[in-house]
Each structure stands twice: as C-alpha cells, then as structure tokens.
C-alpha cells in the first residue's frame, strides 16, 4: 500500500506514531511529502504592505528562497529518520503550491492508496464543527483516494 503523509515540520513524530498504531506499516510504502506553500510569503507581503515596501532587496529575496529550501529539506530529513524504523520503504518529495491542492494533485499523479494528514490546523479546536484545518478540509473534499485524518491524542 502506498501512503502519502503530509509533513508539516511541526508534528511529524506525533503524526507517524498515530499512523503506525492504526495502519500496519511493515509492508507499506510511505511517501513523505513536504509542500512549500505560499502562506508564509503571503504573510510577509501582508506585513510589508505599505508605501516603499513593495520590493525585497535582491540579496534578501535570494536568502529567503534558500532558507525555505533548507526548512523543507530539514523537515523531510527528520520525517525520514523517524519513519525508517517503522516501514519497509520511505520516499521523500518536496512539492510547491497551495498545500491542499498540491497534495491531491500529487496523490493522483503517484496513484497513492491513502493520504494520511493531520486533522487540525493551528487554531482549530480538537473536536467540533470547526476542528478540521483548511488543508485537511480541502484534501477531504478533493482527494482522489481515501483520507485518514489523524487527531492528536489529547
């Protein structure tokens, strides 16, 4: 079984442990995906949105691109180290785009059997009508395959 796991760089250990308890991973192929989304950059544009704040100096623009790559590589390396003892095969992949859409497109492209994703967003309550984060909600609505929504143990 090919399982796509969305790595956010914050809850990787928790996500993989919960997944490991629910699904037999010994025979599974894990595809760890990190999405470089536009959210943080959009936030940067928002706070710099004032006269004179339109352009980033070139050295700064280059630096931001580099640190974003570093962040993704580090999150995936951490996830890979955590997943290796649990599964037969692990692959990592970095994609760009709006996270929900990128995950669905990638899942269709790679013909994965299951998407495992953290259910809550940053500010979502653990339970209740607004407990799904925006990415989890989008993936649930648009995924080409079954989706496993993983909640934190609280």
């Amino acid at each position: 079984m090919r399982i796509l796991v969305l790595v956010d760089g914050f809850h990787t250990g928790e996500l993989l442990n919960t997944l490991g308890r629910l699904v037999s991973l010994q025979e599974a192929q894990l595809l760890l995906v990190y999405v470089e989304g536009p959210g943080p950059r959009t936030g940067l544009d928002l706070v710099r949105r004032r006269p004179g704040g339109d352009r980033l100096p070139p050295h700064r623009a280059r630096e931001l691109g580099e640190v974003e790559l570093e962040r993704g590589a580090s999150a995936l390396a951490e996830a890979q180290n955590l997943a290796r003892p649990m599964v037969g095969s692990v692959e990592t992949m970095r994609v760009r785009g709006e996270p929900g859409r990128a995950v669905c497109d990638f899942a269709a492209l790679e013909r994965v059997d299951l998407i495992a994703i953290r259910a809550g967003g940053r500010d979502q309550p653990l339970l209740g009508p607004r407990s799904l984060g925006p990415i989890a909600r989008f993936v649930s609505d648009h995924s080409p395959c079954p989706v496993l929504l993983l909640r934190a143990d609280r």
Binding site: G37, T42, L44, L46, V47, R49, R50, L56, A75, D123
Partner: protein, 424 residues
C-alpha cells in the same frame, strides 16, 4: 462648485489609493489626483509648490532614513540584531517572540516604524524559517510593534516629524505628553501577543548563534563603523529633538555619512540602494501635500476638523477628538493622508488656539497607533485579504485582523487617558 470639485478629486484619489485599480501604485494614483487638482484650478501651481517646499524637512527625513536603512542592511546590522535576539532566547520560541518584540521597539524608536516593518520583517522571516518555527506570530509581532512603539521619539515615525514641525515642542515637552502613552502601548501590545501566541510559540529550537553572528557581520570593520555611526546618529536625533533642530538635516547627514563609509569600504551596491530608496514614495508624499492643499484652500479641512472638535471644551476632550479622528481616518485611508487632513484643518483655524496643542498630540497618537486596527492602516488590507481568500491561500491573516481588533482599542484608550492626564 470650486470646493465640491476639490472634494471630489480628493475623495476619488483616496479611493484609488486604497483600491489600487489595475494594481496601479498609490504614488501614481496620488500624482494623477494632484495633477487634476492643478488642471481644474483647485490649486494653483505656486500654492502647490509652496505646499511641497514647506515640507522639505519631511522629504529630507525620509531620504535620510532610506539611506541609513540601506547601509545598515548592507552591513548586516538587521541580521546581526535578529541573531542576537535568537541567541538571547536560549532556544525558547516564546522568549524569541519577546526578544523580537523588544528588538522591533528599539529599531522603531531610533530608525522609524517603516524600517521595522519593511526591513526587519524579511530578516525575521528568514531566521524563524531557518529555525523551523511558526513564522506568522513573529512577523505579526514586528508589524504591530512598529506602530506601538512609533510615538517614543519624534523620529520614531515620519508622522511625528510632520506633526512636530507644527507643534515646535522640544523633546522634554514631547516626552512629557507621549512617553508614558508610548510605553503603555508597547506593554499592552506585548502582553496581548504573549497571551495570544503562548501556545503557538512553545516550540524549542537549536541555534548556532556564534556562526550566525559572525556571518551577519561579514565585513567586521565595515560593520563596526556602521554600528558606531548608527549610535552617533541616534544620539544626534535625541540632541536635535531637544534643540528643535531640523531632523531631516540630521537624517540626511547621518545617512550620507553612512553611505560614505560604505563607499569607502566598497560595499555600495546600486541594486541594493534601488531596493531601499523609493522615488515613488517621494512622489506619493508630494502629491498628497498638493491634494490636501486643494481641499484646505477650499475650506474643507478646517470645516471637517472644526466639526470634529466642536464638542471639545478642554484639553482632555481635544486630545480625544484628535486621537479618535486620526485613528478612524487612518483605517479608512492611510495614516499619512489622515494626519495631513487633520494638521491642515488645525492650521487653517479649525481648532481653537487654546486646544490646538492637545488636539495635535492626540491626532499624532491616533495616527501612530490607529493603524494597528487594520494592520497597515488602510481599508486596502481588508480588500487584499478578500483577494487572498479567493486565491485559496492558507494564511492566518484574519488572525492579524482579530489581533488588531484587540490591540488597537486597548492601546488607543490607554494612550488617550495618559495623554489627557499629561495636560492636567
């Protein structure tokens, strides 16, 4: 007819600045409005040139600030300061939020709120991304403290320079009315941030601060010269404010001096300067002066302001009238046109002579702190957020607005009370 035309051009221009149709920058919308004012005879050329020329101190101040910020950035000052904040946090995301907040307050105090909001934010983005922390709380902190701390000194916000030219208040008088309000605003904003982001910033991080500090200050000699230059410039600002010297001249002398150091060390890059020195900003400000002169000559600003202070009977109510007036207007348009309208109205006799000083101090505080309600002080933020949502981007920008709704009223109330008390 004449005043109706001037009002129509003024309002239409402000709408164009806010909405930015076809992504036309605010400078070009403002310039078009100013040209229309001239073509329709709402302002004659002599009056327009006089309106621009009389604000030479503000133009010089902006130029000086841009040069200073450019050289400080070239020397790695902002990266070094952010690395220092991360080092002092000892691996705690929460302490880093506190330190970034303090750093933002210090940079705003001595280099202005624009330097903090425009130059410090990408540096903070870079360091928090590298440390794999949530970026947004730290970016929000920088943005909010840029406004919260912008009353601390007369140079902490270009609006203070503009208002200071009318008030002619020496530093001691300025601080007697605004220092307590400024410190209270900073403290309130910090407390709200620590409470709201306590859980989100709980993550710990590893940081090799020695190499980060060394990398930030790449050319050590250049960095030390720039650090010393910034210290001297801060001192010159304080002395200049105390002696009522033109701050624009000090800013340009300081910025020019730093640029000379950068040239001597062969560290000046034209693309770097182009990124920091924005000619469009000068066009924007000059055009705003012409537009405001147009409505001032038509008697509109005086009528507006006199309507706003009609119920003010004493200093305290004049402070409140000024503060509320600019705070609300800043969120409808932007704080620069807002304060210009209020200064123009007060100058044109809209405020009784005895209430003019408390009114202007209140107006300054409203224009400095009000923008935290809709973060960049303009309705345009709201429109922008709608567009962002349509694009389906996950950005916690609504959190930004929610924070503003919490922080801005609290800081405005505290500032209003403290400034009013300072006139007792």
């Amino acid at each position: 007819m004449h005043s109706a035309l001037a009002a129509l051009i003024f309002v239409a221009t402000l709408i164009a600045i806010v909405v930015r149709p076809r992504r036309i920058g605010e400078a070009w919308s403002a310039a078009a409005g100013a040209v229309l004012m001239l073509l329709t005879g709402a302002v004659n050329l002599g009056s327009a040139l006089a309106a621009i020329g009389s604000e030479w101190n503000l133009f010089l101040f902006f130029l000086g600030l841009m040069l200073t910020a450019a050289v400080a950035d070239m020397a790695g000052f902002f990266d070094w300061a952010a690395s220092l904040a991360a080092a002092a946090a000892g691996g705690s995301g929460r302490r880093l939020l506190f330190n970034i907040f303090v750093l933002g307050a210090v940079i705003t105090t001595f280099l202005s709120n624009d330097a903090t909001a425009i130059i410090l934010t990408p540096v903070v983005y870079s360091i928090t991304t590298r440390l794999r922390l949530r970026v947004m709380p730290y970016l929000f902190a920088v943005s909010f403290v840029a406004n919260a701390a912008s009353m601390t000194l007369p140079i902490s916000n270009p609006i203070n320079v503009l208002t200071g030219d009318r008030l002619r208040a020496p530093l001691a008088v300025y601080e007697s009315h605004l220092l307590a309000a400024s410190l209270a605003s900073i403290a309130i904003t910090l407390a709200v941030f620590m409470a709201v982001f306590w859980r989100t910033t709980g993550r710990r991080f590893d940081f090799d601060w020695r190499s980060a500090l060394a990398a930030a200050a790449g050319d050590r000699t250049f960095f030390r010269f720039v650090l010393a230059g910034l210290g001297l410039l801060a001192l010159a600002y304080v002395i200049g404010s105390a002696m009522l010297l033109p701050l624009g001249v000090i800013a340009v002398a300081g910025g020019g001096g730093l640029l000379a150091i950068a040239s001597a060390r062969r560290r000046v890059s034209s693309e770097h300067l182009r990124a920091h020195v924005s000619p469009a900003l000068f066009v924007y400000i000059a055009a705003l002066f012409v537009l405001v002169r147009g409505v001032q000559d038509a008697g509109i600003t005086a009528a507006l302001v006199s309507g706003g202070v009609a119920h003010a009977r004493d200093s305290a109510s004049a402070v409140v009238a000024g503060l509320l007036g600019t705070a609300v207007t800043s969120n409808l348009v932007n704080n620069l046109p807002a304060i210009l309208v209020f200064l123009s109205g007060a100058q044109a006799g809209g405020v009784p002579a005895g209430l003019r000083t408390p009114f202007l101090f209140g107006a300054l505080a409203g224009a400095d702190l009000g923008p935290n309600l809709t973060p960049v002080g303009a309705l345009s933020t709201m429109l922008w957020l709608v567009i962002v949502r349509r694009r389906g981007l996950e950005v916690s920008a609504w959190d930004f607005l929610r924070l503003g709704a919490l922080v801005a009223p609290l800081t405005l109330i505290a500032a209003g009370v403290l400034i009013a008390l300072s006139f007792r």
